[in-house]
């Protein structure tokens, strides 16, 4: 799974640009993700990595360029975007569980309303995915009764219940207390081992180093460096990548400088 060329293409992004008013956040991104590949996107805040991820399922509308997922061009104005999004799971930094629904209904509502699954089938699939993220027994809890780590794992289970071909993670552990990060990363690691195609925006260098097939370093709206994690994180070629990594890996030393 380490070489993208050998596998089928899941995501193909070509010359992607995105501007918010006068500010150009993405300045020509090209990216191919093979089926079953795990790609981690790292970079300083404001580098455009979250925007890139949000362009993949068109939560953010690209200014120009194309995004093709599983052979469907999502940037085509006539595309059925709702149908396309069913196959793309997304996990947000702030979890975004539906606050008025309990855990089980969070897992089943889209299955029932979008995929038209029966209540019984949706519940069965939802409960199976809840067990997959290690939260079996919590199906009747309300989101605000769960810790951040638990909420994020429910959010992952909610996305998985739609049987996605691709999972997008937008800084899934950034809003968590440090001691809760491990549980979420463990779930993601297992998902990667099962062969899920994943695009992950993260600050967890250890995770990227161990789980990613490929790491992208972004800065100022462009991909600065890209390659296997041992190269990009282990021995970066670009000065900008080195500066960023030294700040992330040794935050205390930067403060002293």
């Amino acid at each position: 799974m380490s070489t993208a060329e050998a596998t089928e293409v899941a995501v193909e992004i070509t010359d992607l640009h995105k501007s918010f008013g006068p500010v150009e956040v993405l300045r020509g991104i090209d990216l191919r993700v093979g089926r079953g590949e795990v790609v981690c996107v790292i970079g300083p805040s404001g580098s455009g990595k979250s925007t890139l991820l949000r362009c993949v399922n068109v939560l953010e509308e690209p200014t120009s360029g194309t995004v093709v997922v599983d052979g469907t061009e999502l940037t085509d104005p006539d595309v059925d975007i709702d149908a396309a999004r069913r196959r793309i799971g997304m996990v947000f930094q702030s979890f975004n569980l539906f606050t008025h629904l309990n855990v089980l209904n969070n897992l089943t509502i889209a299955q029932r309303k979008v995929l038209r699954r029966s209540q019984a089938e949706a519940e069965q699939i939802g409960l199976a995915n809840l067990e997959r993220v290690g939260l079996d027994g919590r199906e009747s809890a309300m989101p605000n009764q769960l810790s951040g780590g638990q909420q994020q794992r429910v959010a992952i289970a909610r996305a998985l219940s739609m049987d996605p071909d691709l999972m997008l993670f937008d800084e899934p552990t950034s809003a968590l207390d440090p001691e809760l990060v491990g549980d979420v990363l463990a779930v993601m690691r297992r998902l990667a081992d099962e062969g899920m195609t994943m695009l992950v925006v993260t600050h967890e260098m250890q995770f990227a180093r161990e789980v990613a097939d490929r790491v992208l370093f972004m800065d100022a709206g462009v991909v600065v460096e890209e390659g296997p994690p041992e190269q990009v994180i282990g021995s970066p070629r670009e000065e900008r990548t080195r500066t960023f990594l030294s700040r992330v890996l040794n935050p205390a030393r930067v403060a002293e400088e």
Binding site: L59, D82, G89, M90, F98, T99, A159
Partner: protein
């Protein structure tokens, strides 16, 4: 004279108490208590009002208010969605409607609907239907703005999560945004229900048969018959029996939702 701030506040407080007591004493000694007792607290007259004041007056007040509220809420939902629509003419129409009916006295609307519609369309309009429409129109103009604010107060992330699961904008609105918006606006909606309960008294200007009397009409007729103000007092107590529990409910709901303020910066925009 040099007084400390604390001491001066104390003196001012005592002066206020003194004025209050003086006013009470003046009223107590100048009022004709015998007359007040016979005009407002005539037990015989009060007893003669029962059970009709409840079975007719109170019941009709509840029916008129309930019908008006239900109709108004439906109308308000349509108006709120129009206000948030990306279609500009819809936004304008809803805006004009809201400004227009918020600016008119409820009585004018009730008269216009109750007498105007039968004249204009040459038809008979049932009293209940007329009041449902008129009170609904009045209430909807206020509730539409409350609902709009409630919908906008639902965090944007909720919409994004729903859309990322493949829900259409309309589906997202119905299954995710509106249920959460209602939770947020329950306290102000309860207040609107209190206002509408009182506005339903304006029904008396449309004229009614005995079985259609609501509390105010009932009290006014009884007032003419008995030449005592007791019916007014009884009708008033009946209103309070409705409105005070509602206002406690409203405050309870407000506390339960954590007194969340409507219109936080992180607001929602759903393309309709």
């Amino acid at each position: 004279m040099a007084m400390s701030k604390r001491k001066r506040a104390k003196v001012i407080r005592w002066v206020q108490y003194g004025i209050l007591i003086a006013v009470i004493l003046v009223v107590a000694f100048t009022a004709n208590w015998d007359k007040i007792r016979t005009t407002f607290f005539d037990l015989e007259v009060a007893a003669s009002l029962f059970p009709e004041v409840i079975t007719v007056g109170l019941v009709n007040t509840l029916i008129y208010t309930g019908l008006g509220f239900a109709f108004g809420l439906g109308l308000a939902l349509v108006l709120a969605l129009m206000r948030l629509s990306t279609v500009r003419p819809y936004r304008w129409l809803a805006g004009i409607y809201i400004e227009f009916f918020r600016g008119l006295p409820a009585l004018l609307v009730i008269l216009a609907v109750g007498t105007g519609i039968p004249l204009a369309f040459n038809t008979f309009l049932d009293k209940y239907v007329a009041l449902m429409i008129a009170l609904g129109i009045v209430a909807s103009a206020y509730m539409a703005e409350t609902l709009r604010a409630g919908i906008q107060a639902v965090p944007k992330g909720q919409v994004e999560a729903a859309r990322s699961l493949g829900m259409s904008p309309a589906r997202t609105m119905v299954t995710i945004v509106i249920p959460q918006a209602f939770k947020i606006i329950l306290p102000p909606l309860t207040n609107e229900l209190i206002l509408l309960t009182k506005d339903s008294s304006l029904a008396l200007f449309l004229g009614a048969s005995i079985t259609e009397y609501e509390l105010t009409q009932f009290g006014r007729v009884a007032l003419n018959d008995s030449r005592s103000l007791t019916p007014v007092l009884v009708a008033g107590l009946c209103y309070l029996a409705i409105t005070i529990p509602l206002s406690y409910l409203s405050r309870y709901l407000e506390r339960r939702t954590g007194g969340k303020k409507i219109g936080t910066p992180e607001s929602t925009e759903v393309k309709a």
